[in-house]
Amino acid sequence: MSEMHIDWAGLSPMIIVFAAAFVGLLFEAVVPKTKRLPVQVALAIAALAAAFIAVAANAGKSATAFSTGETDIGSVVLDGPGLFLQGTIAILALIAVLLLAEQRTTKGGDFVNEAAVVADSAADVAQRREPGATEIFPLALFAVGGMMMFVVSGDLLTMFVALEMLSLPLYLLCGLAKRRRLISQEAALKYFLLGAFASAFFVYGMAMLYGFAGTIDLNGINQAGISSGEPRILLYIGVGMLAVALLFKAAAVPFHMWTPDVYTGAPTPVTALMAGCVKVAAFGGLLRVFNVGLESSAWDWHMILTVIAIATMIGGAFFAVTQRNIKRLLAYSSIANAGYLLIGVIALGDAVGQTMFYLAAYGFTVIAAFAVVSLVRDGDNEATDLSRWAGLGKNSPGTAVIFTILMLALAGIPFTSGFTAKFGLFSAGVEAGEVGLVVVGVISSAILAFPYLRVVVLLWLNEPAPDAPTVNLPSPMAGTVVAAGVAATILLGVAPGFLLDIASQASTYMAN
């Protein structure tokens, strides 16, 4: 038995994030309560920045992290798409963590102090003046570490553990809002029960593929798709159940039911983290499973995934039109965007680079959009009802201009990242021969542009109500989030070449 070789440098981004999460837990025990917030924020920011640098230092690598002698052990695969998406997750999480730390919009921040206190009891009302719990930062780091593991996992067991690692802290984070706690807890319950249901499907699908291939290594499953003598029904059931679990995280129709409720109920900074980073991780997993593990059986799943993509694009766009609440509108837009991204998954190979660019561009825009949502307030609560946003351009032109740019980017207007990303993704789809899907995608984008533009009209052309919501002046925290998001949105729209080059260079999976 030759000695195990471990690529520590390749694992370092994940090690940094997980180590910082554990150190954060330790800080909860030893640092006095009043000093915890700055310490935890500094630790989280430092960890995510260091993780991003560590990912950049690994750029160009194409190897497995573990090997014995000449044999690769494929549980963690550091290749182009994995590293690009790790970097994307680290940088988006860095921005989202700043939003978690925002304290000025409402006194003490958006998070509850003691989650164990019964919601709306006298003790709960009393603790609203207290600063929020700082456990959210280690929890967020665990979730981010799980996401970074998810996009590089090369076998189904590693993928399952990473999936749970990213989900479990998020279930808790969803339930920690300070205001409207009953709704927040309800969102956590819904997300948890449906998420656990989906992960049970993952386990059963994993078992079926293991029975079919005799291995859970994605490359091995791909080989078995050609050569295995086991009954092919095992492969079909396995692919189907695995797809259910992954499409649930990606919020594709018909597994999208949780998305609007959880996006609305969760504290807005957590929603931003989910809409930006979890989307990247979920599609990173989907891309890897279908490109590496199931490429040889593409004929078997192509049809069903196409149907799901069409349902997601059309369903998301149609439901978005009817929404009266800005967070629900963004949730349905995130569902429709999952449909566009599915084109990139179905197109396989050549579309991987464009799909990754789309994920990065969409992540920046949507995090900034949720940051703006968290700033527009009726007293202590967020003004999420769209009618309350009428005439915002008269009272707070700066915020309205920023939100207009973000809405135009989501609608895919030229000179924003939304346009370049959609254009690239759809042309990659056409090149892969998925013309029908792309036509549906274009129609869906046209429908989806309507609710975005209606928001823009509402902002500028309507008269504000006398008791219009106020826009809280953001502290440097939320200010940086909005500025970074808008800057990336415009930069990737005007000069996308830089990131597109990186994405297309990083678009090949490691061949076995």
Binding site: L157, F197, S199, G211
Partner: protein, 99 residues
């Protein structure tokens, strides 16, 4: 018994669990049904470990058990918090988020 019997049992357990998730209203019972589905997956993993002659399946079953235990901790914490504020663990009573 041949391995097929174990697979049929595992499929039956998974189906019972999945139906339970959809028809039962108490969140604790829903959660127990999800655990049943996970254990059905474990049974299938161990059976396939036997049929394919590899040890991976049995090791995976251990991982699934450990993850399921972590999931119980999180799940019961969330259900407890809801029960204490509402005096009900029914998933039908949690309806504030209806659009």
């Amino acid at each position: 018994m041949s391995p097929e019997h174990y697979l049929i049992l595992s499929a039956a357990l998974f189906t019972i669990g999945a139906i339970g998730v959809m028809v039962r209203r108490n969140s604790i019972v829903v959660f127990m049904c999800i655990e049943l589905m996970l254990n059905a997956g474990n049974l299938a993993l161990v059976t396939f470990s036997r049929t394919t002659g590899t040890i991976d399946g049995q090791i995976m079953a251990f991982f699934v058990m450990a993850v399921a235990a972590a999931e119980v901790v999180i799940g019961l914490a969330i259900i407890m918090a809801i029960y204490r504020s509402r005096r009900s663990a029914s998933v039908d009573d949690a309806n504030l988020l209806k659009a």
